[in-house]
């Protein structure tokens, strides 16, 4: 009987630590989920005269991928983005974050270009408005321009299948 209380306390601690320590502390819930995408307007990376803005993220499900040439995770996920782009499911937009144009263009030449259009954000101002804190980050935006999901870290096919596909399917199911 006298061991019941310490054993119960221990069990509770184990459960707390089990849950707490298995979480990734770098994954901060985005405050934008369920809210309209933050307003932005950026010059296009490849074609500085054109702009990329919220208008691009309307009318159909879209993906906005935050990347930079200095970002190792972006290099990792690039192949996956290429595959997703060639599968042609949803348009993938890029947000080139705190990078420089020359490097970014070289990267796309060398590795391929999965993006429909890329906003060029060398100062990270749009990134700040999107709450970006660690590239790569990938947002899923619904046809009405509402942010539905955010993935932090490199995109993988299993993340795509498990987190993005079901959400995209439910959007088209609603007739969006």
């Amino acid at each position: 009987m006298r061991y019941v209380v310490p054993a119960a306390v221990f069990a509770v601690l184990v459960v707390f630590f089990w849950i707490g320590l298995s979480k990734d502390p770098s994954e901060v819930p985005s405050p934008f989920i369920g809210k309209p995408a933050p307003t932005f307007r950026l010059p296009e990376l490849r074609n500085p005269e054109a702009t990329v803005s919220n208008a691009n993220l309307q009318g159909q499900p879209t993906v906005l991928n935050v990347w930079a040439t200095w970002c190792v995770g972006c290099r990792q996920e690039h192949e996956t983005l290429m595959q997703l782009a060639s599968a042609n499911m949803v348009p993938i937009y890029g947000l080139n974050y705190r990078d420089n144009r020359e490097d970014a263009l070289k990267w796309l030449d060398r590795l391929g270009d999965p993006y429909v259009a890329i906003g060029y954000d060398p100062e990270g101002a749009a990134g700040l408005d999107w709450g970006v804190y660690g590239a790569p980050e990938t947002f899923l935006i619904d046809p009405s321009g509402i942010v539905v999901y955010k993935h932090l870290g490199p995109m993988t096919l299993s993340v795509w299948r498990e987190e993005f596909m079901p959400r995209i399917q439910s959007m088209s199911g609603r007739g969006g």
Binding site: P29, P31, L128, Y133, G134
Partner: protein, 151 residues
């Protein structure tokens, strides 16, 4: 004399950590500077999570410092700046998140722990003192002890 030298040496040693990461220089007036210091010390750098925006030299922390500075210079209130940051980065960016359903346990935890701690301390102490009062096994409860005789 030795004391002074020791104090000086200590001060020099400590000064290493006081290197400025803020490249922009001070704010135009002390009142703004105080608010700037207070705000950047309350904002969490999201890349290096156990540092404040004032401490961290990560690019993101610099962006947030610069934005805080710009907003202060443009006349924004502290609340407006905090709101601006939480809109983008959520409550997580604040070292002191507001009390809500989600953070209630966090805020209540110290009080709860204090209550649980003092309650169990009380119970343990009471049990021990009761046990001390009780006659030990094999002892004759009716025989007066030496202590009783002396009193």
């Amino acid at each position: 004399m030795m004391r002074r030298i020791a104090a000086l040496a200590l001060a020099l040693l400590l000064s290493v950590t006081a290197l400025a990461i803020d490249s922009e220089g001070p704010m135009p007036n002390p009142e703004l500077q105080a608010r700037y210091d207070r705000l950047t010390n309350e904002l969490r750098c999201l890349v290096c999570q156990n540092q404040t925006v004032a401490d961290s030299n990560a690019d993101l922390a610099k962006d947030l410092r610069d934005r805080t500075r710009e907003m202060l210079l443009a006349g924004a209130s502290d609340d407006q700046i905090i709101e601006f940051m939480t809109e983008r980065y959520g409550d997580f960016v604040l070292y002191r998140p507001p009390v809500s359903n989600k953070t209630l346990l966090l805020w209540a935890a110290p009080v709860l722990l204090l209550i649980v701690g003092s309650l169990s301390a009380f119970l343990v102490i009471r049990r021990r003192s009761l046990a001390a009062d009780l006659p030990e096994e094999g002892e004759d409860p009716f025989q007066t002890s030496e202590a009783d005789l002396r009193s």
